[in-house]
Amino acid sequence: MANVPEDLHYSKDHEWVRVDGEEAVIGITDYAQNSLGDVVYVELPKAGEEFGASESFGSVESVKAVSEIFTPVSGAVSRINESLADEPEKVNSDPYGEGWMVRLRMANAGEVDSLLTAAEYEDFTKAESE
């Protein structure tokens, strides 16, 4: 069973959002890292770049495949997780912790309310894997 922390918000593209004041920390879910397999490369934007909700902000690559990653909320990148350049496997080992990807200064904090709750996301992944 994939780990789905209670206190996060989720997108149907399998990203998670942790609200930290005016910022949103974003990564991919345990379910997503598990279906991708060993992550070998993460391509992230640069600090300062701006994204609308559901826009692609980078990609995650396993041995076999490339998956785009989408920001669930709009905003400007304040920081990226630079350690993923050398240790992309953190996305597998700790997707909600050391495997975080970007920090955004949110343009519209209300957008998180339209995302899935942990329970909703769990139902969504169950339906998807059936």
């Binding site: 397999g37 070998v40 690559e61 041995v63 076999k64 490339v66």
Partner: protein
Amino acid sequence: MVDFGGWDMPVQYPAGTIEEHLRTRTHAGLFDVSHMGEIDVRGSDAIAFVNRLTSNDVTKLVDGQAHYSALTTPSGTVIDDLLVYRLAADHLLLVVNAGTTEKDWDWIKSHHNGESVELHNASAEYCQLALQGPDAESILQSLTDLPLSEIKYYHFRPGTVDGVSGIVSRTGYTGEDGFEVYASAERAEQLWNKILDAGNTGAPTGVLPCGLAARNTLRLEAGMALYGHEIDENTTLLEANLGWICKLDKSDFVGREALAQQKQAGIKRKLVGFEVTERGIARDEQDVLVNDEKVGKVTSGSPAPFLKKNIGMAYVPVEHASVGQEIKIDVRGKLVGAQIVKTPFYKRIK
């Protein structure tokens, strides 16, 4: 699970592609490759018939020997690549790719022209398990009386494994030493489980079951062609660096004339291996550029788990095909630097 030529195949097992790949290089990996097709050719003209349809020289095989070869079109391109096993002077077994088995079968039947041969598509009757890696011989030896150390590379023997009769062949598609076992399809599960047990699966150095993804990265590191990627009906054997299975001096075969002409005139493009020198991973079908000009396409591109590099193969014009040539790969709109290198990328120390 993915659909692969009509077969439900696992892309990876729980250990994951990288671990499966590394374990095969350092200890052993077990692959269920029962999807491969088997075509049985019997009769007094078996050798002459197969020799007319394939590019390698079947008359050079002795009983118990196999070789890599290709079914060729009249223009020297590739219907399929295959292994030809000589069981007896009047009995050959052709092992072909899963996705092309039906096409090959139709091609072979339609080229039957009075030769005294009986053809049989035996694909559904066989299972094929590939045990690969430095520990393959000792693991398999615990299940068979066949003297495995006496079986040379690209040779095989009929015998039993765990009491199941079949063929044990020292062949593979990983660049490692190893064996492929052909047996009755209904004994596949028994053999699979017994080999895993004998190889101490679950232990840190035990055999790992491996999926299609590891099979692909292992063969790519070893510089081996995959049908539908490096070779197909639009690429000739000479362009694909497979001149070594093109025996133009043997008796006539389909495509011989075209290949002889191409050899004399010289090829215009060539399959090469490359290493990505900047950050990024090249993938199948991406464009290759030299001096900002599109010159070719990636046929296979992937991270190479053992070499810890990002590698690939591509067709490029011969004038840009030298080792050391700098190229760019169009990775989803971003040009990433790469350099042509010698293949195979990986060669095991014997």
